[in-house]
Symmetry: D2
Subunit: 400 residues, 4 copies
């Protein structure tokens, strides 16, 4: 059990599965800690935000072990861990959080003040988020384990639903946070920008929150087809109509109650010539157009402080040309940031365990082996309509 | 009583007091209505947002009667007004609202769906807000009177505090809405951008909401001096330090819990050469810099859909170059729009009547005659540290 | 069209269909009003709270026209009605509300200050609630129509779903309010006391709010069987186990996240001898036992200020022997009162129109003729598992 | 430093200062823990809820060390305490909480699931709350120190305001929680039942939350006089008028927006003969009478599950005869339970440090020596208008 392998970022466009160190109870500063556990990773997903790094749109360092969507089994625990036992099956929120600072106490584990020396907020295997080792690996260490981990109450039952439960570490709570901050409620009409996994998770979240109609817009035909197959209303953005007109075809008016940006800073648009170009503000400006007066816009899609790969100077520093005047005239509110997973994962787990939320089907989970991770990254980047879940120990194939 | 005089917008830089029609019970479409009252205007204030029009930064038409901050006495009532009597002294929310549409029922009277044929939301004497006649006049008509008006419970007591109560029609609720949406609570540290009347009202609101420390930033020395005289912490933006450093001088760290933008689209900054230039995004970008992780930014300052007077093309269409990536990294939320005055004015009235909120002193109310209105506009535009209150019938001078 | 017939309360245990006056535009005080409409009643439901009156458990006067669950078509309108047209199909909230007082402006239309001279809050055809004429009739007058009425956007579509939409006037929002105030959310476990129509509506509400598991307790076998048939977890209270044990059989622990009292003051319990006796506090005390720490208890079930039919002296004055110490130890909150229907009916209509909420099936709607109303009252009182919907003009039979 | 002395409950009516064990890093089950700190107690207050035990109205065991209102200096720390240093001056919330269970993660530290084997929720030195050793002593151990403790940012500044800051451990947050759950906001009119320290703290909380008028009712003349001296409106309950009439004398109507019960289960009333008798429901029934429709009632006053000292059988089991029918007719909500101190203490500390909240003056803090504690208990029980703060090491006398 002292060997370990993981997915490593090598250079833009390239990840590799490499031998990596077996986890130890030390934080990124190198100090010994006693509140951590070591997990045997049962499942670990490839995330759209990993793609930003692999595409070279961030300053991620070569050699970094990737992976922040982790489900695992406790195989070792530090002496300060009181409420977890060896053998427990747990979901790991992607946020690393101490549970002891002001923001954690207030429930904002997305911006913990203690786990990142550079700024608020930490995550596993992610640039600028504290240097915690990623979990697309066989084993990973999770600090502040009593606080951070969500234990599944029944291990056998959980293994049966592991394709769904693996979505609790990030994508499902992230979609849910988008929907909640967009103020989705019973009877809402909702527009989700982006039909990738987070977009689908946001749509699924909107549905379980009681939304009347959920529209998803994208330019990717395969993703739109999948969205339709799981009963959302696809909006084909390549049609070159005004977004409002496309919305009106479904709803009878060019307006939704709530809008969710599941695209983020790498937003693109198609020019009249059919060329796809960077258009970092196109999503948010579109959402302000179609969101009703007094509506809210949830923005789980990532916007970065620095985008060295951006085409124009403003975008390089994370600046967008927003039509705030339009939003202001409609009394909009905009809600940004990482998702505080712990705020939502227990309740979403309950919904999954009681068969209310078939998220694996909705995001189209595809289980792959650890060695297939590089191919998974490529397929995902190419836009296939799947969510890739890595199965480092072959436990999911068995479970299914 | 059939004569009337009011402040009329003539051309950029020029307003005049002219004879205007005595109010009738008709809406802007010309239809007879029965739910209105005619008020003898007791006080009516000049607002910073009036200045935008008078400076020619909007598409306001010549001939428009200005004025949306109105307090008055009911002198006539429509046949369907049930809960107001002739003689009642009332505060008029600047929003015209029907009280019958979806948004009004939900409390968003700022974006009423019935009172403006062009878009959501109406106001008196304001460009693009429905064509309702302004109230910087001797008399004015208020529709949906039972719904819109706040009656003062004791007329004599109210006249004694009329300099304070006149602030209920706009400025005080607007500052309060900014503070509420910025999530100011007991113990908060707060930064208010702009030391004009709305900034001071936001600061006053922050204080009565229990804020620990309230900082106000401006470049206008006179306004800063006034802010200090009413016990707020002035931040002199001409010092050319980073905003965070200026904040740290007061709070010991470059960060506040809550931030409120009381400046809006006409934001300016001072170059190294001392020249003041348009910088429409400078305030909001600064607020994202200093607001704590998980903090909120209230934006009562007006941002417009169209700004024909703007220097650059983007700003002409209400677009700003926002550092949204910075705000996103800190999980900020941004809250825009007109204030739904009815949501707040009753409770603020109570605070005034029980001597908890000396708003007239805080915003430095100056009472002027109707004929002095053009001078008031000029002085206000020049940046004097006062809130001008027009006294069309000479009742305030008597009351004081 | 000047004739009218309605369901009249004659004496305890007896209602009759009688000729009644055709509606006029006058309020209970006899004053002419101009904000009302006259509706041709399309559907009007018998409510459990009507039963309290008919059983003689209230001080309802003989001769009162019953009925506060009304859906209808506008056939006449007063001159102050601006946003409704003749022919509109509308849902009537059971609360009469002015839309102009403090509580209405705040969204608490359940306790309107203007429509009842005795105390806050009005309703049609109900004792102590203002004297407004009931709507179990062919025609009825609705005041403050622009404010109170919810117009269905498409009349033909609405007639197709009229069995569902008829539930918007009371029962569905009431169940929903119970669930909302019990803080039901995604993943909640919920216990609903009472498997009558309101209990089923609360259960349906819990489900569309995302509840993981919804349990319904009753002593009526038929109602339990129906609850099971629409996929809720029935809890048979005649089993004589502790409520917590019954809950644990389903959930694995004797505790729910949220509890909803849909029984009210006529609660009963079965003694060891099988005799059913009045036990007005039994439901609430049970809910405090099973609700988790920090949980909330929604109480849509009616508790009255005076219950002349009660067995003991305390209950006669609406006093209950509550184990508040138990609730206090668990930091419970208790939420009482009539439901402000307008707060919820639009969103619930949307959910129905988009096929998210099959409420007619869930509450088992049975359509009856006006002349069958007395039989409907009897069957309902006998505990059949149905919700009776009166069809005064035979329009529902046609629609189905 | 290995000696220790503390206030010990001996029998009903009797406490003594005795030698007690020096704290060790063990929990009540006897297990070693590493997340605790040992504090040198700087100040520790006598609480009204201690009185319930000392009066024999609970099942508190003889020999128990009392005290749950603690401020202290860290003199030892467990190996797993990361964010506190020896010498830090800290406020201890009276709730013992793990920071790791569901309820703690949700902010409900009042009902932590891990620190009490009998039921949810723990406290220091309190019957039924987990067996944690009390802090009316020279030294005390605090578990989960990183999570539980609030560090004062500047020790010298804190010592200057120590009489105020000592109120952060319980009384001030408890009053604040009462006010928050009663939905006190800017402009509210508020009635506080009970002019003891918690009542005064609730009144102070209401004021900093922006209340317009704060009334406090009691039968104790000295306490009423003190309440008046710190600018609240005293309501003398010995006047034998209806509570509503007494309220109307101040407010002009027999109604408040918000009501707070700071009395709890030992409520009493004065009969016509002047005799004071137990009347456990009198406070809550009174509050339902005077609270406005749609209002909320905060209940920080303690209600117990078992009251062996009660006069009647129902009260012995924590049952009260509540006029719930009255509350229901007014759509009231009732909010019970211990206060989750951590939710409020940081912000209240800020308000104190910035001179916004002179709580020591408002509750009339009297500093006494440890040996004077038994006298303090007696005086407090006798109803003097003071809050007793024990100064075990003589540091406050020096500080003042």
């Amino acid at each position: 059990m002292s060997s370990n392998r993981g997915v490593v970022y090598v250079k833009p466009g390239r990840v590799e599965v490499q031998k990596i160190d077996f986890p130890v109870f030390r934080n990124p500063a190198g100090n010994e800690i006693h509140h951590g556990v070591i997990l045997k990773v049962v499942s670990t997903n490839i995330c759209g935000s990993d793609q930003h790094m692999v595409r070279g749109r961030t300053t991620a360092p070569a050699g970094m072990v990737l992976g922040h969507e982790i489900t695992g089994e406790v195989i070792e625990k530090g002496r300060d861990v009181e409420y977890l036992e060896i053998g427990d099956l747990v979901s790991v929120p992607f946020n690393v959080a101490c549970g002891r600072c002001r923001t954690c106490r207030e429930g904002h584990t997305d911006v913990c003040l203690h786990v990142n020396s550079e700024r608020a907020g930490g995550a596993y295997g992610y640039v600028d988020l504290g240097g915690w080792i990623g979990g697309q690996a066989e084993y990973v260490m999770v600090p502040y384990a009593d606080f951070n981990l969500l234990k599944f109450p029944d291990k056998a039952q959980a293994m049966e639903k592991i394709r769904d439960l693996t979505c609790l570490s990030d994508i499902l709570p992230t979609g849910f946070h988008g929907a909640v901050t967009a103020k989705v409620g019973v009877g809402s009409t909702v527009y989700v920008a982006g039909a990738g996994p987070v977009g689908l998770a946001a749509a699924a979240a909107a549905r379980i929150l009681g939304a009347a109609a959920v529209l998803i817009g994208d330019m990717n035909k395969e993703r739109l087809a999948h969205a339709k197959s799981v009963d959302f209303e696809p909006i084909d953005l390549t049609k070159h109509d005004r977004l409002g007109d496309l919305v009106a075809e479904v709803l009878g008016k060019p307006e939704v109650d709530c809008a969710i940006d599941c695209v983020g800073f790498e937003a693109k648009s198609e020019g009249a010539d059919g060329k796809i170009v960077d258009a970092p503000a196109v999503v948010l400006n579109g959402l302000m157009e179609i969101t009703r007066p007094a509506g809210a816009i949830g923005i789980p899609g990532l916007y970065v402080t620095d985008d060295p790969g951006a085409k124009d100077e403003a975008a390089k520093h994370g600046s967008l040309s927003l039509r705030l005047g339009l939003g202001w005239a409609k009394s909009h509110s905009l809600h940004t940031g990482q998702t505080p997973v712990l705020k939502y994962n227990r309740q979403l787990m309950q919904a999954i365990l009681w068969d209310r939320l078939p998220i694996a089907k909705i995001v189209n989970v595809k289980v792959i082996k650890l060695d297939q991770a590089p191919d998974g990254y490529k397929s995902f980047d190419a836009g296939v309509a799947s969510k890739f879940v890595i199965d480092p120990h072959g436990q999911l194939s068995k479970a299914a």
